[in-house]
């Protein structure tokens, strides 16, 4: 057996165990998001044992790779709810387009007002969409992909932890509006948090997330063309 295979397997097993544990905690205290519960013990263990992240991530990429197939699998709730959603798809696309433009402009303008350097401003622009799309748009705009990755994940965690509460505060109660808002603002991490709440929310959110990804990659490509 290959020697590098064992630590990779170990980090997959450790990650999966922490995830299982975080799910148990989440079952007891609903407000406790699994993503936070799973990451804290792993970060603590890596820090205490002085294991570099790159070492852990050799196994980690085995899990990260499955984000591709999982994105593809989103077609199933989209299809299953397709009949219910069919009549609203043009309106939903309009809502998502408005949200995507708002996200790109507000992120960039806020960073610009705070005198951030241009590459940092560009890194903030694609932060609302799923990681692979965001990285590409960031590269096209000559941003710093690492900053974009960090922002994408933090936005997703923010959406998964406080998105629903925040929408409740703003008196947004419609399941379709909630799905659209979470999918557009916090991509896969937000959508994943809705799957356990309601199938309709998750389906609309999957639609919104996919549409936001497509819109943002097109808008990003056009913007980079204009800036050339």
């Amino acid at each position: 057996m290959n020697r590098s295979f064992i630590p990779a397997l170990l980090s997959v097993m450790a990650t999966t165990s922490c995830y299982a544990l975080a799910l148990q905690l989440h079952r007891k205290w609903r407000a406790f998001p699994p993503i936070v519960g799973a990451c804290i013990p792993i970060m603590a263990a890596l820090w205490l044992l002085r294991v570099p992240y790159a070492e852990y991530n050799r196994g980690g990429t085995l899990l990260t790779w499955w984000l591709g197939p999982a994105t593809v699998a989103l077609a199933v709730p989209m299809y299953r709810n397709g009949l219910a959603l069919r009549g609203m798809l043009p309106r939903l696309s309009l809502v998502v387009l408005a949200g995507s433009i708002t996200g790109m402009v507000s992120a960039g303008v806020t960073a610009w007002l705070l005198h951030a350097p241009l590459p940092v401003i560009m890194s903030t622009v694609p932060k609302s969409v799923t990681t692979p799309i965001a990285i590409e748009v960031s590269r096209q705009l000559r941003g710093i992909p690492q900053i974009t990755i960090a922002m994408v994940i933090l936005t997703g965690v923010l959406g998964a932890t406080c998105g629903t509460y925040f929408l409740k505060l703003a008196r947004i109660r419609n399941d379709r509006a909630i799905g659209a808002a979470i999918g557009t603002s916090s991509h896969g991490i937000g959508t994943a948090s809705l799957i356990r709440q309601s199938e309709l929310r998750a389906a609309v959110s999957s639609w919104a997330m996919a549409a936001a990804g497509v819109f943002t990659s097109i808008l990003g490509a056009s913007l980079s063309f204009l800036l050339r």
Partner: protein, 127 residues
């Protein structure tokens, strides 16, 4: 035994579609492989090339545990402290402002265009 075979078949179908999407991306389509795969998979389900019952359980499993797949990337935040701390204020504020703006614009516009609140009377059948 039969159900685990079904499950493996479903996962296999999804992985093949993802690889197809990824291939299309590599040869020049500017949309990422996962999103292309999603569109292809949706079209295949819609056209009944792939039946829902072949992939239902596998897709459900992948989606229920999607959070697990985000863990390694999220743990990677611990290595980004340096990059983040240099522009900490700008990055955090832009993140929060933009998050709230998107949530409000999409949610309020969605509430307007996508139907009445679920708890309002007569909300049924108004998709």
């Amino acid at each position: 035994m039969k159900t685990s075979l079904d499950f493996a078949l479903g996962v296999g179908i999804i992985v093949v579609i993802f690889l197809l999407g990824d291939f299309l991306h590599r040869i020049g389509v500017p949309v990422p492989g996962g999103v292309l795969g999603l569109l292809l998979f949706y079209a295949a389900l819609q056209l009944r090339i792939i039946r829902l019952e072949w992939v239902d359980r596998a897709a459900g499993f992948l989606l229920r545990h999607m959070v697990l797949l985000f863990i390694p990337l999220t743990v990677g935040l611990m290595d980004m402290g340096g990059v983040l701390s240099r522009q900490f204020g700008a990055i955090c504020l832009s993140l929060v402002v933009s998050f709230v703006a998107v949530l409000l614009v999409t949610g309020l516009l969605g509430q307007r265009l996508l139907g009445p609140p679920e708890d309002a009377p007569g909300a049924e059948g108004q998709l």
